[in-house]
Subunit: 206 residues, 2 copies
């Protein structure tokens, strides 16, 4: 019997597109995916819980983990660090379970370098106007930050070509449906399963 | 606005695996796919309807269509012809609708040559024993034909590597779910949609 490894799914996309909301809605429906909580040095927003939404760390703690190569990826974004602890991801995949990351675009590109066999999903805004509204409605950003975030978003959208799938976030339910379909279909990819099936049948034929 | 073409999905797999049953169950649930009815020269089985299950043709009619290049693919299988009329498929894709073919392995490989951009799904038997039972339970085959079909099935399974996805037909409902997930996720493939999305956003940014 072949040891079956899990699949790494990475959900990413421009700032303000609604990655966190889609991820939460997905995990309310889907139980097979294991969510890898990111680490960050940014301040927690109202309602965010340490260890659930993010691991909130000081800049010093974060930089120490960078030095010890304990992060699968990390990025500095609008003055804060964001990163993914390496150990949890590798252990979980080895156990045959799928891991789900929800991270910024810079981080996703680093994961792609380290795990090209991962599946990369780009969450796309329904329109620029909508993206701007979502950033403003957060109410946590100054006007300058909004402008910076929009410019960053444009640059991030240019990086779409590094991804396997593009899911438009027009309605959360629809985006979640599509992500679930991607997860299910990736498990049917021939290059992942052909060897296993052939072996099972060889045993029958002998 | 980019003219959006439909996607060609091809369901295939060894004789007796249950392609027809899965296809019927799929079309009872899904309405967006357009089914392209195959042509055959084999005798109709009990309950099969001309123009629904197959277009039943004489050998002479079929060979005339081959000569006039009106078939997207055709194959001879256990002494009978099976084929796919070309015109319906091309017209429907052009209109932006997905086309679904359910055909034998030899035919699928020909379609792959003509339409490498198609999506090829291999329906896999849960076990060899189960495949044998299904062929026997059809009750339409002699013992020699059963043996021939099993040998053909083994050869066909070797051709799995030409396919994009492998779906095991252990339970019809599960197989249908997986095929629907594949259809949905293929519509999110970055190489299919990126250009369209970028253009939409460029318009917003200008």
């Amino acid at each position: 019997m072949i040891e079956k490894k899990g699949i790494l799914f990475v959900l990413s996309g421009p700032s303000g597109v609604g990655k966190g909301t889609v991820r939460k809605a997905l995990f309310e429906k889907s139980t097979d995916l294991k969510y890898s909580t990111s680490m960050t040095t940014r301040n927690s927003r109202e309602g965010e819980v340490d260890g659930v939404d993010y691991f909130f760390k000081s800049k010093e703690e974060f930089e120490s983990m960078i030095e010890q190569n304990q992060l699968l990826e990390y990025a500095e974004y609008v003055g804060n660090y964001y990163g993914t602890p390496r150990e949890y991801v590798e252990k979980t995949l080895q156990e045959g379970k799928d891991v789900f990351l929800e991270i910024e675009v810079q981080g996703a590109l680093q994961v792609k370098k380290n795990f090209p066999q991962g599946v990369f999903i780009f969450l796309f805004p329904p329109s620029l106007e909508e993206l701007k509204n979502r950033i403003i409605n957060r109410g946590t950003e100054t006007e300058d930050l909004v402008r910076n975030r929009l410019l960053a978003a444009k640059a991030e959208i240019e990086m779409m070509d590094a991804y396997d799938y593009v899911v438009v976030n027009d309605k959360i339910e629809l985006a979640v449906d599509k992500i679930q379909a991607i997860v299910q279909s990736e498990h049917c990819k021939r290059e992942r399963v052909a060897q296993e099936y052939k072996k099972a049948l060889e045993a029958d034929f002998s």
